[in-house]
């Protein structure tokens, strides 16, 4: 009895080892990637403690004294409200505007009968998406430069405005400029995604609608839009999860880091960068970073939980 259990256990152990041995090559394949994830992603996560410390590189991060929530206190007494307002405000506008534009264009594209033209339009509207944001800021500069810009030299004189506007020092225009730039750069990308969904809709729905005498608009309203629901939810969910993040290039590079514009261009990402690289204020900068990571994480979980309730199959996890 006793020996039997021992041999049985030994056999099980052998099977266990063999089982893992069989998969050893597969595990080994994952080692380089795991190392990279560890270094690039997981070690920096532990760096969150920096936000609770008075960092002194001479004695090292580990030995630097803890100062509790001091960094956060300074942050929230200072610019926290402004950068949060800007980050969320712009993102809200993007979340609302982008799908409206993208879905309209996707539906129009789908209604076109000439295949070649359809293909051509698709190709062209994706071009801005492929260009680096640095080049985009040159494009914006060509339009807005006070001395040589296209607007000041060509467009404004058409309307009889002779004096030159200093775009890079007039904050009142920038919410509009930034939204326009983002739409210009991003609408092609969203359009392509919605268009793929529209193309994938079962043709028999449309045929049935036609038999019922539905007009073009009625088909869009009762067939196309309901079929897009799922994609809209997924994409919006993703953007809501990213609401505490902003495109650093758009808010730093496109306004050319111009001081007078800071009130309307400073977002959490640009604030973190300036604190870290320019003002040498690691405490506040890391506090803002942690604020972003934690709230961002909560947002993703919340958004996903809501979708889980409303329509299960569209949830991310």
């Amino acid at each position: 009895m006793n020996t039997a259990t021992v041999t049985e256990r030994r056999r099980q152990k052998g099977r266990f080892a063999r089982r893992y041995f069989r998969y050893l090559p597969l595990y080994l394949m994952m080692v380089p990637g795991m190392i990279y994830l560890l270094v690039n992603n997981y070690i920096p996560m532990t760096g969150i403690i920096i936000a609770f410390k008075q960092v002194n590189f001479r004695i090292g991060i580990l030995k630097s004294p803890f100062i509790g929530l001091k960094n956060f206190e300074f942050l929230f007494r200072g610019d926290a409200w402004l950068i949060t307002r800007n980050t969320i405000g712009y993102n809200l506008v993007f979340i609302i505007i982008t799908p409206i534009i993208a879905i309209s264009i996707a539906i129009l594209l789908n209604e076109l009968t000439k295949k070649g033209l359809k293909q051509f339009y698709q190709t062209v509207i994706l071009v801005p998406y492929l260009i680096s944001i640095v080049v985009v800021s040159y494009l914006v500069y060509a339009l807005l430069s006070t001395e040589n810009g296209f607007l000041n030299n060509t467009i404004l004189p058409l309307f009889g405005i002779k004096e030159k506007i200093g775009w890079y020092s007039s904050p009142q225009y920038w919410p509009f400029i930034l939204v326009l730039t983002q739409v210009w750069k991003g609408f092609g990308y969203s359009t392509i995604i919605y268009f793929a969904t529209v193309v994938g809709i079962d043709q028999s729905y449309y045929e049935a609608a036609s038999i019922d005498g539905a007009t073009r608009w009625e088909k869009v309203k009762h067939v196309t839009l309901p079929c897009l629901k799922s994609t809209v939810i997924t994409l919006t969910l993703l953007s809501i999860g990213r609401m505490f993040y902003s495109d650093f290039g758009l808010f730093y590079q496109v306004p050319m880091n111009s001081g007078p514009l800071l009130d309307v261009t400073n977002t959490i990402d640009t604030y973190v960068y300036r604190g870290l690289m320019q003002n040498n204020n690691i405490g506040m900068s890391s506090a803002a970073g942690v604020f972003q990571s934690v709230v961002g994480f909560i947002l993703v979980l919340t958004a996903n939980a809501i979708v889980n309730k409303v329509s299960r199959e569209d949830a991310l996890f």
Partner: protein, 295 residues
């Protein structure tokens, strides 16, 4: 009814053409300005069509300064090496994850997925890469941080493997006595060319367009990639001139077409992508669609 449809088609085409010009028109200004003479630009500003043709900005870029050429070489090398390494890492990670029989594969999948939900932010990353791993002012700084592997592409590739490569095919390879790595190389990869092409293009695009790694980790001119150079020039028009005129008299600096030069450099930064893109449009579109829906 037919008449009605014709009108609708015309209106739709007009709208689409308008949108396309909206996309293209800033590039026209950029390009026209880069080939307009300095005098005209100063007098009349940047414009959609060139008022006169003058290639001196490009002549200067190609002969007066070696920064652009070097920037190009660095960008090309970094993009090629980075993309290859990324593909190797991604494939090696995605294949085991796609194997339904792998014990604990959900744990590994979660480790990958979690990096998409949460991150430590740029401050700890920056301190780690620059103070502890000392990659500042090396070519590694342009390759390693953030771009080398992304959870997004791992999940994309895993999904492709799972839905396009039947378990039976892998099983057959194993029964024939092929090792896992041979199965991956000889059976799985040849069946996965579309997804590899798609990911390669997207990753290559990221490397080509990346300027933030350069912004954080590089401040010596000799490591500037083309985007970092562009970024630097936007903030400091004098930069390229001072680097070109160093050693020479300031006479030379005076003749440099600074207004058109800016635009010429931007054209140089954008043109490779614009030239390559139309030929691979299918893969880009596929990558975006698959990534958004399944990633």
């Amino acid at each position: 009814m037919v008449e009605n449809n014709k009108i609708f088609q015309i209106i739709t085409n007009v709208i689409m053409i308008f949108l396309c010009s909206f996309c293209v028109f800033p590039f026209l200004i950029l390009f026209s300005s880069s080939i307009t003479s300095e005098m005209t630009l100063v007098r009349e500003g940047y414009s959609v069509l060139p008022r006169d043709i003058d290639w001196s900005a490009y002549k200067f870029l190609l002969t007066g300064s070696d920064s652009i050429i070097r920037g190009y070489i660095i960008t090309i090398a970094v993009s090629v090496i980075g993309t290859s390494m990324n593909l190797i890492l991604t494939t090696l990670f995605a294949y085991p994850l796609s194997r339904r029989d792998l014990p604990h594969r959900n744990v590994f999948a979660f480790i990958v997925f979690f990096t998409m939900l949460f991150n430590g932010g740029i401050v700890p990353s920056y301190i780690m890469w620059s103070r502890y791993l000392h990659i500042s002012n090396t070519y590694l700084a342009l390759i390693l941080p953030n771009l080398l592997m992304s959870a997004f592409y791992i999940i994309m590739m895993r999904t492709y493997f799972q839905s396009n490569i039947p378990d039976a095919v892998i099983e057959a390879g194993r029964i024939d006595g092929a090792s896992e790595i041979v199965v991956l190389l000889k059976v799985v990869l040849p069946m996965s060319k579309p997804i590899i092409a798609t990911i390669a293009l997207l990753v290559g695009l990221h490397y080509w367009n990346d300027w933030t790694n350069g912004l954080y980790y590089i401040n010596q001119d000799k490591y500037y990639s083309i985007q970092v150079l562009l970024n630097r020039m936007l903030q400091d028009v004098q930069y390229l001139m001072s680097s070109a005129a160093s050693g020479n008299s300031s006479e030379l600096a005076k003749d440099i077409p600074s207004v058109s030069l800016k635009m010429a450099v931007a054209v140089m930064g954008a043109i490779p992508v614009l030239c390559i893109y139309p030929f691979f449009q299918k893969y880009f579109v596929q990558g975006i669609v698959v990534g958004a829906v399944k990633g």
